[in-house]
């Protein structure tokens, strides 16, 4: 009984893992990059890099909005923080609100402002890190709902693979620290086990919380039934927040200077101001909401709830002080919050973010080693016969989903620097480069013989990723050897991570490509399966 259960679980693990593994690698890799999506976006908009905050930043933003959007229905100013040096200005243009396509609130107009000089910056057109972030849960160019369902199903099978994998694993504690190098399939199994078992809590957490996030997105029927189709009511109950509808605009009137109000708020909460929202700017009923950065507790709410003060715009009178909310969330809300906060790393701590990033890399390696193990096992069973079409297909897809994706991401970054800034539909072209490179790697992977294919693709990604910091150096003023890159940290970090990952690909290339002393029994080869596929 036990044996047959284990066998059926092994079957389930093998095939669910293989079929969805190609998609899951992409989800894991792009999802891991999403921990740094703000930093990636910043890197991809070098026009913003020279901006530095000063004491005048708030006044400058006030003046700039007064100049470019004096008639707007509302203003929204996001001040520079540790992750972003420029000021983001948003406003709702005057006139009736146009409902956005597909429902939801219209986000209005937006512009970037240099925090030091107040001039409006026009960064190159790019989707930045948000393209990779979006890709990890809704792909690209596929109808959004379909794509989300597809990824949701893949996530579900990831959970299935985790559970069936644990049941299949024969000696989970005895082999806890075991890695036996140079044993072909055995070594791949050990590597797969090591990255899976040790990181099991992380994998489980990230998969389960991913499913929770999808739950609200895709399966609202339970909520609809309980709340009579009023989904808003569910969110209001789970995540209470104040909602007030703005009245009609009043007569034109001057507003007071923003500086003293912001100073008062910063002093009241003993934290710097992060955001200023204005309803009906330059009207007699103007209301200025000034918020400071919020401490994000792990079970806290995702949005809203920042400590805020509300002022009357024309007189500067304090109308309301909204304390950081202490109200305990309901238990359901708390569980949901802990899980989603962990998935989204919604806390400012950069160390935690880095640790999650490395865990994400380990997770990607876990899926990838599983897929390589599949090929390795069947290559060893060949006993030096020619590999069949199915094996070749799986290997080609493996190549495209691992090295191909890394090549595509590298090319996406390089395209950001190398495409002319004035190019029409520039952000689409960056994405086209991404998919073209990915497609080329798939065709290449299917056509080239096994081992040569891997060597060539590894060589390409090594060169590509190591070249990125140098391309940066040639095309921007905020490269690795500039003060701006180190002032912002994220920019230097981006280039350093590229070098680090490039070196890692290079090391892998060296392990795969070096000649074997003995063809039958490679002494310490990490990719013996790949070596044998060529013979």
């Amino acid at each position: 009984m036990n044996g047959s259960l284990r066998q059926s679980m092994a079957w389930l693990h093998t095939w669910s893992g293989l079929l969805l593994g190609w998609l899951l690698v992409a989800v894991f890799v792009t999802g891991t990059s999403a921990y740094y999506r703000e930093e990636i976006s910043l890197w991809m908009e070098p026009e913003l890099h020279q901006s530095t905050a000063s004491d005048d930043t708030m006044d400058l933003a006030w003046q700039t909005l007064g100049r470019i959007a004096p008639e707007a229905r509302s203003w929204d100013i996001s001040l520079p923080d540790a992750r972003n040096p420029a000021v983001q200005l948003r406003w709702q243009p005057a006139g009736e609100e146009q409902p956005r396509q597909g429902g939801g609130r219209n986000r209005g107009e937006q512009a970037w402002m240099d925090a030091g000089s107040g001039e409006v910056l026009t960064p190159r057109e790019t989707r930045g890190g948000h393209f990779l972030y979006r890709f990890h849960f809704e792909l690209y160019g596929v109808p959004r709902l379909w794509a989300r369902w597809l990824i949701c199903v893949a996530t579900m099978f990831m959970l299935v693979a985790i559970i069936s994998g644990v049941i299949t694993h024969k000696k989970i504690f005895k082999d806890f620290f075991t890695f036996r190098p140079g044993k072909g399939q055995r070594s791949w199994l050990d590597a797969h086990n090591a990255s899976a078992v040790l990181a099991l809590p992380f994998h489980f957490m990230i998969t389960y919380s991913g499913l929770l996030l999808f739950m609200v997105m895709l399966m609202p029927w339970g909520i609809d039934a309980a709340y009579d189709g009023d989904r808003r009511a569910f969110f209001d109950e789970a995540f209470p927040r104040s909602t007030e509808a703005p009245g009609p605009a009043g007569e034109p009137a001057d507003m007071v200077a923003i500086g003293p109000l912001a100073e008062a708020t910063a002093a009241r909460f003993e934290r710097p101001v992060s955001r200023i929202e204005v309803q009906h700017p330059n009207r007699e009923n103007a209301r200025i909401r000034i918020s400071v950065e919020q401490d994000v507790a792990i079970s806290g709410r995702r949005r809203g709830g920042s400590p805020t003060q509300v002022f009357q715009g024309s007189s500067g009178d304090l109308l309301e002080t909204i304390e950081p909310s202490q109200a305990p969330a309901p238990l359901m809300g708390k569980v949901y919050n802990v899980m989603t906060n962990l998935h989204l790393v919604r806390f400012a701590d950069p160390v935690v973010r880095l640790l999650f990033f490395f865990s994400g890399l380990a997770g990607s390696a876990m899926v990838a080693t599983g897929m390589l193990l599949w090929v390795s096992k069947r290559t060893q069973q060949l006993r030096r016969q020619q590999p069949g079409a199915a094996l070749k297909l799986v290997n080609g897809l493996n190549m495209a989903s691992i090295t191909g994706l890394l090549a595509a991401i590298g090319a996406y970054f390089a395209a950001n620097r190398l495409l002319p800034t004035a190019l029409a539909e520039r952000s689409s072209w960056e994405i086209r480069v991404f998919f073209l490179v990915w497609l080329v790697s798939l065709v290449h992977g299917l056509l080239r013989p096994h081992r040569r294919g891997w060597i060539e693709q590894l060589a390409v990604i090594t060169v590509l990723w190591l070249a990125l910091p140098f391309v940066d150096m040639a095309t921007t003023d905020s490269h690795l050897f500039s003060a701006a890159a180190w002032r912002l940290g994220a920019l230097a970090g981006f280039d350093l991570i590229c070098l680090l990952l490039g070196a890692l690909w290079g090391y892998t290339l060296w392990r795969v490509a070096r000649p074997k002393p003995d063809k039958r029994k490679p002494a310490r080869a990490r990719q013996p399966a790949l070596a044998e596929g060529n013979t």
């Binding site: 806890f176 890695f179 036996r180 040790l198 990181a199 640790l355 865990s359 380990a362």
Partner: protein
């Protein structure tokens, strides 16, 4: 209290747990262990993992701290697994050197 120290304690804890297993004990120290020694290493290993947990609790609020413990252990465990077959001596020396260095940095206020 620094993240580096928490990581170092986790590494040493895991190494001790490995030393508490017959096969890895021989691999790392080159001699057959007695049952008592294995039990001792296991106990030390678990105590050090408890210390890692304590360090996390000092660093972060409760919910995040408990989530970070397995993540820290994962991140130091992966290198350990690959050090064991390739560089057992290095794995052994890191187990006492890392906490010393991290502790020194923490005391010196540099970490």
């Amino acid at each position: 209290m620094t993240v580096l120290l928490a990581l170092a304690l986790g590494y040493t804890g895991l190494t001790c747990l490995a030393l508490g297993m017959k096969r890895h004990h021989q691999e790392l120290l080159g001699r057959k262990p007695t049952e008592a020694r294995l039990r001792l290493f296991k106990a030390i290993g678990w105590l050090l993992l408890l210390a890692t947990t304590a360090a996390c609790l000092m660093l972060w609020p409760l919910g995040l701290a408990l989530s970070m413990v397995p993540i820290l252990v994962t991140l130091v465990g992966l290198p350990l697994i690959f050090l064991l077959p390739y560089r057992p001596a290095l794995a052994r020396h890191l187990a006492w050197a890392l906490p010393l260095v991290a502790g020194g940095l923490a005391v010196g206020g540099l970490g």
